[in-house]
């Protein structure tokens, strides 16, 4: 830009209107509260919101699903849901992050349910045939949790057991221990009291242990 060199000098002569310009917030500088308000109607603001949170949502989905492909799907679906449901979002102390984790958890549960439906008796037979050919490979595309695709050391038995839990148990354990949310934040986003959350967590752990034992794992 040859003429650009002259621009700074001209700009320096121009009167500063800082007072007026303070009215305008740059998306890159706005706090989360305001960004969410802007994102309700403005795609550019939503895109900024996406960029701020996409990596942590993806990391959570990656750990919780154990699958790189599924984590990407969950991440995309989470933000699609967030875009559609942003008008329902209410500001809470736990912030947008916890809300996104809750959406991601719901999406993971939905995907697990859809997967289960697809596993009809016929599908199961097909899987057995595949297993006979290459032990474990049939699940490899779904659960690449051995760490070869992204560093998750993984715990496939634990993930599978979580998927079999009732939704509320699954949600409370995912948010509390995998997403690492505080009990109060989990309670807020599940619409329950902190006391109920503690009870629910205890029962969920018991149910998870039972699932693991039934699955032949400690």
């Amino acid at each position: 830009m040859s003429s650009a060199a002259a621009i700074p000098q001209r700009a320096a002569r121009r009167h500063s209107a800082d007072a007026n310009l303070r009215v305008m917030e740059m998306y890159g500088e706005v706090d989360e509260h305001r960004l969410v308000d802007l994102a309700r109607t403005d795609r550019a603001a939503f895109a900024e919101m996406y960029r701020r949170h996409v990596q942590e949502v993806h990391a959570f989905a990656r750990r919780r699903t154990g699958s790189a492909h599924e984590a990407e799907d969950v991440t995309a679906a989470t933000f699609e849901r967030a875009l559609r449901g942003l008008h329902q979002y209410r500001h809470t102390p736990s912030g947008l992050r916890a809300w996104l984790f809750r959406i991601a958890t719901n999406e993971i549960i939905d995907q697990a349910r859809r997967r289960e439906r697809l596993r009809s008796a016929r599908g199961q037979r097909a899987l057995h045939v595949l297993h006979a050919d290459s032990t474990g490979d049939a699940d490899a595309d779904h659960r690449d949790s051995a760490g070869a695709f992204g560093g998750v050391s993984g715990d496939p038995q634990l993930i599978a057991a979580l998927d079999r839990l009732p939704d509320r148990y699954n949600t409370v354990l995912s948010l509390r221990f995998i997403a690492g949310l505080e009990p109060a934040d989990v309670a807020t986003h599940m619409g329950i009291t902190a006391g109920n959350c503690a009870v629910l967590t205890h029962r969920a752990l018991a149910a998870l242990r039972k699932q693991l034992n039934e699955g032949g794992n400690p």
Partner: protein
């Protein structure tokens, strides 16, 4: 209890497992997928509320014009500094207000006066204190008295110097100094421009403008299409399936959100 603890540890360990971050390409792909989601779903009552708000806004503007009329006409009624204006009477206020109210609804001349004199009017409360001859403003009269007292204190020849300027004047929009180009690729508009090399720029801002170009600074929030994090990029894209004619400019924003440079207008379809 111990089992619970072990299970918690196992879950926490899963939650702390290292993960590879999404690649830039994956981030971009997911962003494109997400932003291609159909329009925001709002409750059905939102359009009704918006329409009602628009009507209220129009009514409010109309009322404001009626009340602000005398103030905005103030420079036209100024007297020379050597000839103090007679103290206004209530009748004067009434007649002024009436005539201005009718003027303000008559069209362009009144609206142009509004825009040119508004900053001066904001200083009116300070003016009477500089001249003891000014009668106190009747609190029950809206707008008119302030206007009527101004001529006695403000010389018509130098109205700006008698009023301390605390309101920031409108920013002057610089002439276009670089070219912005836009091409459509499918549902996307791809913008490109030469890199800004000045030291006073911080980021680019892509703005949708009216046919007259950038009308003011800062722009309306709704017109800002994109803001870049720095000056490193010379291209960006925008998902815009509609092929309506749109006009765009790219501006360089400096420190303190100062308008530094403006591009030519690029037209997309």
């Amino acid at each position: 209890m111990n089992d619970d603890h072990d299970l918690e540890q196992r879950l926490r360990h899963l939650g702390a497992a290292p993960t590879a971050p999404l690649s830039g390409r994956a981030v971009h792909d997911i962003e494109a997928r997400v932003l291609a989601t159909p329009t925001l779903q709002r409750p059905r009552w939102v359009p009704l509320v918006a329409a009602a708000a628009a009507v209220l806004l129009l009514v409010g503007v109309a009322l404001a014009l009626r009340h602000d009329g005398p103030d905005t006409m103030q420079p036209d009624t100024m007297q020379p500094a050597t000839t103090p204006a007679p103290a206004p009477t209530t009748d004067d206020f009434t007649s002024t207000t009436t005539s201005l109210a009718s003027t303000s609804t008559s069209g362009a001349p009144s609206s142009s006066t509004v825009t040119t004199t508004l900053p001066t009017d904001t200083q009116q409360p300070a003016t009477p204190t500089t001249a003891g001859a000014v009668p106190p403003t009747p609190p029950s009269t809206s707008g008119g008295p302030t206007t009527a007292t101004t001529p006695a204190t403000s010389p018509a020849t130098t109205p700006a110097t008698t009023v301390p300027a605390t309101t920031v004047p409108p920013v002057q929009i610089p002439d276009p100094s670089f070219a912005l180009q836009v091409v459509r690729v499918g549902d996307r508009l791809v913008f490109s421009w030469p890199q800004y090399t000045g030291a006073d720029g911080v980021r680019y801002m892509l703005i949708r403008v009216a046919p007259g170009g950038l009308a003011g600074w800062p722009p309306e929030q709704a017109r800002i299409a994109k803001i870049t994090p720095g000056l490193g990029m010379t291209t960006t894209d925008l998902l815009l399936p509609t092929t309506e004619r749109r006009l765009w400019v790219l501006v360089v924003v400096g420190e303190n959100r100062r308008l530094t440079a403006v591009s030519t207008i690029a037209i997309s379809r």
